[in-house]
Subunit: 230 residues, 2 copies
């Protein structure tokens, strides 16, 4: 048995394409011989640091993205539903995912080795903004998401406190800087470590190529279903 | 037997991702039950008309694209090799693909119903700019590409003359406008007509989703090879 390939996934819950990428990678962590490392980071910092602009500022691109997200969500079986005002969600709330991502970083710090809670809290935050059209900026919103993710009241209180600490602010900054240093200009960003070399994949549309690069097989967005059909 | 689904492919030979999309669609025209319509257009007009900016203006994005193109070209088995100065090829020559695309439009006009010559001339132009690092702006360059594509000297002379006529200029303008009206903001753009409704796909990374939408099967970028393996 060969050793597991390490794959890092950089994401921000404000990014709908990150949600798609996140669910695919979570599904494949048990299908491919990989060790998935979740790297919650801050997309706002990536855009600023790389000098990139949100794609939705071009009207035709924005309309396409809405359609594309709908189609992909259905095909990937992810309950993503663009909010009533996707522009506001992506750009105004976008600048406000900082507290949400600090919260996720705090969950990860508290969880130490594990990442079950990080996975679930991230998913619940995506569900709020990208499925239920709810806020993700207020502490009460973050608590609610964490509660749904299964954290106890005590744990939530602790995480909320941690999330405003210098330690956690620095942690999120440092993860974001790691992504920039690797060459990020947006999220999701998947970094596969193959034979000591990092192979970087941007977006949620390179999984087949990624599988090819790491010597695994792409079984479609729902590998469980495909495997059952084979 | 159900009637063939019409699929339009809008492209410009200055766009390397268009080359990848073009080769895939040309391979699948005989695998899927489709009628492929080649729609050579002018990317410069799309960028201007939609207000979009070339992706390579962000340094991290530009570096990623170079890497991404190399990996995809290998996986798709398309002899694409970024030229010595890809930035110049994409942006400076980019503004100069106008005469090349008028030339392609003229080939198509002359060919009437068929599109064998359009296919071959387009491929030879891509090969020049995106594989051999050669010019595509001078009449001599266009002639050379057409010669390699199998056109006779007489045909080439005729096409060169046609390509500066008002009729061909208007034809290219009108195809570009068609793409803008559908919602284009870049190339390649594939428009699948499914049950009378156009489904638009941007880029060279939605083939699996496209197959799903038109009720066909995605067999990877080299369907011949995959089919042989099955």
């Amino acid at each position: 048995m060969t050793s597991k390939k390490v794959i890092e996934l950089f994401y921000d819950v404000v990014s709908p394409y990150s949600w798609l990428g996140f669910e695919i990678m979570c599904r494949y962590r048990n299908v491919w011989n990989i060790e998935l490392k979740l790297r919650p980071a801050f997309l706002g910092g990536i855009m600023q640091g790389s000098g990139n602009k949100p794609p939705g500022l071009v009207p035709n691109k924005f309309m396409y993205m809405t359609k594309d997200l709908n189609r992909l969500a259905q095909y990937f079986d992810v309950p993503l539903q663009p909010p009533s005002d996707p522009f506001e969600a992506m750009f105004k709330k976008g600048t406000c995912s900082l507290s949400a991502m600090r919260f996720v970083a705090a969950v990860q710090e508290r969880e130490k080795g594990g990442d079950k809670q990080v996975e679930q809290v991230s998913r619940e935050l995506w569900r709020r903004i990208w499925s239920e059209d709810k806020d993700i900026t207020e502490p009460a919103s973050l608590s609610e998401a964490a509660k749904k993710a299964g954290l106890s009241d005590g744990e939530i209180k602790e995480v909320l406190q941690m999330s405003t600490s210098k330690e956690i602010k620095d942690k999120l900054k440092s993860t974001t800087q790691d992504a920039l240093d690797i060459g990020a200009f947006g999220f999701p960003l998947v970094v596969c470590h193959v034979d000591g070399k990092p192979e970087m994949f941007f977006g949620s549309d390179r999984f087949e190529l990624m599988a090819h690069c790491i010597g695994e097989k792409w079984l479609g967005p729902q590998p469980g279903k495909s495997a059952a059909k084979l």
